[in-house]
């Protein structure tokens, strides 16, 4: 009976990965948590996966943007918008005015 209780459900390992990704529904999350709390083999798998995930994360560099770079990039994207997006969608009034070659509100 104890052996059965200690058996890990099929697909549990993949479910743990999804749990650690945060991509499980809350119902399935509770299911994983319940198995981990009651089944020592499942708990071992969970711990192993969790440690592996932490190790991988620690090896991925994460560079925070500096204030200067943030300021530069904010300014640059605004310049890009100004230079590349201008006058694509003009209002009907300005389109008519360009056809008439005059400002239509000045009569």
């Amino acid at each position: 009976m104890d052996e059965l209780k200690n058996q890990v459900p099929g697909g549990f390992s993949a479910m743990v990965n999804a749990y650690l990704d945060g991509s499980l529904t809350s119902e399935k999350e509770s299911y994983v948590e319940e198995i981990v709390a009651t089944n020592p083999s499942a708990s071992k798998i969970f711990q192993q996966r969790s440690n592996e995930r932490d190790k991988i994360k620690s090896l991925i560099p994460h560079v925070e943007i500096t204030k200067d770079s943030l300021r530069t990039l904010k300014r640059e994207v605004r310049d890009i918008n100004k230079n590349l997006m201008k006058a694509k969608k003009t209002s009907i009034a300005s389109r008519i005015s360009s056809v008439l070659n005059t400002t239509i509100f000045e009569f």
Partner: protein, 157 residues
């Protein structure tokens, strides 16, 4: 769409895009340039979308944010793949970062976007323009190689 709304959305994406740029090419100026150039490519290609998209509802905002983020990241990967060859010296790094920068571009991108920006596999497919099995392969091989290279780095001092 109002200009201000779109700029607020872009501003919120900049820190993540910059960090991703650094994961692609490990240099502050190159990372900045990568963001700017990818954004230019995006604006030229998606001008109509930018001008017509609506950001009033939070659901719409989330959808637009996901689209914009994945498109710019995708352009960054493509630009980085063309530039990396000329910037080899930047990749010869020592210390903890060295194992990561010895992975290939797709492995680095997939690992960074998933583990640091929290992207799902379907988002990674959009960004990397790969099939699901290819994304899974990049993630799996990336993790294995990262561990392996890190262990050998530690062994060799």
């Amino acid at each position: 769409m109002k200009d201000g709304q779109f700029m607020t959305l872009i501003d919120s994406l900049i820190p993540g895009l910059y960090s991703f740029g650094y994961a692609l090419i490990p240099d502050e100026l190159e990372a900045e340039q990568l963001v700017m150039d990818a954004y230019s490519v995006f604006v030229i290609r998606e001008d109509e979308f930018i001008q017509e998209c609506e950001l009033n509802e939070s659901r719409e905002r989330a959808k637009v944010k996901r689209f914009v983020q994945s498109q710019i990241c995708s352009d960054m990967v493509e630009l980085a793949s063309k530039r990396a060859g000329h910037l080899l010296s930047l990749f010869r790094r020592k210390g903890e970062e060295s194992a990561f920068y010895r992975l290939d571009l797709h492995q680095r991108s997939a690992l960074y976007l998933k583990e640091s920006l929290g992207m799902t596999v379907s988002m990674l497919q959009e960004v990397l323009v790969l099939e699901k099995h290819q994304v899974m392969e990049a993630l799996y091989n990336g993790k294995m190689l990262l561990n392996e290279k890190n262990t050998s780095e530690l062994r060799n001092g």
